[in-house]
């Protein structure tokens, strides 16, 4: 059982409190992403779990053992860094072997393990090279290999894919996830890329200013974002957000257009709807709004249509194979895909 428990973690740099209290429980074998914009404290949390950064208060428990006061070397973790941090003066073989050498394991065990790991990652032919002679993707693999050499209690990833090009990134995403599932090692994965978080994780922790905005399974977070922040951070193109007035069962757009909904709401609310949930058609039907098309982006599989309802800008994702209405389009916003947020707190309205 290698669960990770972070309890009431706080971190101050001088007077600046970057993490005002963070708790998280990761189950054994679970893959959890820490997702947020740069400066949200996600890397700091990871480094505290690794023991590379001192914490101000709180506890870190790995596999039932309180490691708060332990040095990184005694925590039984492995970490993959954003810049890979391969030892430049050691060959790939020695990079992989280093952790076992420190532990004074016998030479033949080290050899055997390096062989296994390098086969797993398909880097056998690189073992004699130096890091400087490797491509970015190869360095990434070696960094991964170094992490799995010791079969640690937990993996910590600090934006491991952000230095790779888009194609390689997609590929490594799948590979890391498969590897983690196969090895069954509890994983914390820090990223600012929502696609990585969505596709790889069992659960996502969305962070903002050191605080948890939402914890949940990827689809939960996509379908019921807990705040405006989460709503805009997850999903591409981003969710449309319009501040509207309520009038009984109707939402009144700034343009004066009205949309009736099934819910009873009070005062001003922020209405959210994902571009891919909006229905665009040529004919005006009941409860649809007039839509003026401004710009069409062709993406191949779909079109992204930028347009306006009155003066309110709205983005619509539209399937490629359906022809666009030529003159006079209108949109309808299906009621079960509407999100409502409090305009002051930004929180989701229940």
């Amino acid at each position: 059982m290698a669960s990770i428990d972070i309890r009431n973690l706080r971190k101050k740099f001088g007077d600046l409190e970057v993490i005002p209290g963070f708790s998280l429980h990761a189950e054994d074998r679970e893959f959890i992403s820490l997702l947020g914009p740069s400066g949200c404290g996600k890397s700091t949390i990871l480094r505290i779990v690794a023991g590379l950064e001192e914490l101000t208060s709180g506890d870190v428990v790995i596999a039932g053992r309180n490691v708060t006061a332990l040095e990184p070397k005694d925590r039984d973790i492995a970490m993959v860094f954003q810049n890979y941090a391969l030892y430049p003066h050691k060959s790939v073989f020695e990079n992989l072997a280093y952790g076992l050498r420190i532990r004074k394991r016998p030479e033949d065990e080290i050899r055997k393990r390096v062989t296994e790991v390098s086969e797993l990652l398909q880097i056998q032919q690189l073992l004699q090279r130096r890091p400087a002679q490797l491509s970015g993707g190869q360095q990434q693999r070696v960094a991964m290999g170094r992490a799995i050499m010791r079969e640690p209690a937990a993996f910590l990833f600090d934006e491991p894919l952000s230095n790779l090009d888009a194609k390689l990134r997609n590929h490594m995403r799948v590979e890391i996830r498969q590897l983690q599932q196969r090895l069954g090692i509890t994983t914390l994965y820090v990223t600012h890329d929502q696609v990585e978080a969505m596709t790889m994780s069992d659960r996502i922790v969305v962070l903002n200013h050191g605080m948890i905005e939402q914890i949940g399974k990827p689809l939960e977070i996509y379908e019921t974002p807990a705040s405006i922040f989460v709503a805009t951070f997850i999903g591409s193109p981003a969710m449309n957000l319009v501040r509207v007035r309520t009038d009984g069962n109707a939402l009144v757009f700034p343009s004066g257009d009205r949309l009736s909904v099934e819910r009873q709401l009070q005062g001003d609310v922020v209405l959210g709807i994902r571009p891919e949930r909006i229905k665009l058609s040529a004919s005006k039907s009941e409860n649809s709004l007039p839509f003026e098309i401004v710009l069409v982006e062709e993406l191949g599989a779909q079109k992204i249509i930028h347009g306006r309802i009155g003066a309110t800008e709205m983005t619509v994702a539209f399937p490629e194979d359906v022809p666009l209405p030529t003159n006079g389009a209108s949109v309808s916003l299906p009621g079960n895909y509407l999100h409502f947020f409090d305009p002051e707190s930004g929180k989701r309205l229940a």
């Binding site: 009431n8 706080r10 001192e54 914490l55 101000t56 208060s57 709180g58 506890d59 708060t68 006061a69």
Partner: protein, 300 residues
Amino acid sequence: MSGEQVYRAPLHRRLRPLYFLSPTLLILLSVTLFPLIYSLYLATHTVILTNPMLSGWSLQDNLREVFLESPEYWESFATTLILVVTVVSIEFVLGLMLAYFFYNNFTGRDFIFPFFLMPMMLTPVVVGTIWRFLFNGEFGLIAGLLKAMGVVNYSILNEPSTALVGIIIADVWQWTPFMLLLMLAGMRALPTSPFEAAQVDGASRFQIFRDIMLPMMKPVIVIAVLIRMIDAFNRTFDTIYIMTNGGPGRVTETLAVMAFRSSFEYFFMHQGAIVALSMLVIIIIMTKVLGRFMAGPRED
């Protein structure tokens, strides 16, 4: 954080930077602070090695002796100033020009470059002797060349009007390579796209150099000039000691030479200490003022 368990890293871990720094700090304090205090003691007392009977507090007398009773201190001050300003200006211009040439690609560049750096590796005492003999009126190479031009037995270092020029030539010879090295490193670290942009905009080679390259090199120039100024002020001792020992008369006696001679030729330790301490004050003022003046208004 009431009642909450505040985590404290183990003391030995928090004190680690102190452990790492303490040997160095201890050594540096003992070779700077301690001598400084001792210097202050020397400066405020009468300490004459050849006459241990005289002693006691005499700050006012010492100050009067050095700064007021004879013009020697102020003559040395002026000599030092002239020397520093002249050598640093010449070395800067020459170093910059040579660096600009070495910035080009040409055949044999990397081969000849180390030869241009050789003077700065040489022991200053040896540099001093070489130039002393080059300038020698009887058999020196330069005197020989002068003789060929009709000037008979002219010893540059023996004439009060030219002795300092001789010192300056030797210093420029030894330290221009240092400027060259720093300027070249600075130039090579610059991105080339601004030069290309200026070229597209129609700037001439000289305009690019003056309007783009020089301003971009300002940080390196400031550092290089500062280092050279401090070193010229502090460390021109060796060459002067060998070439003229301050003479003829006192025309090449800089403050450093004066401090040395007061202490170790006349054994008036207190006078030497006062001159030396005045150098420290001057160097502090010089770095502060020049650093600010040359750095200009901070942009960052």
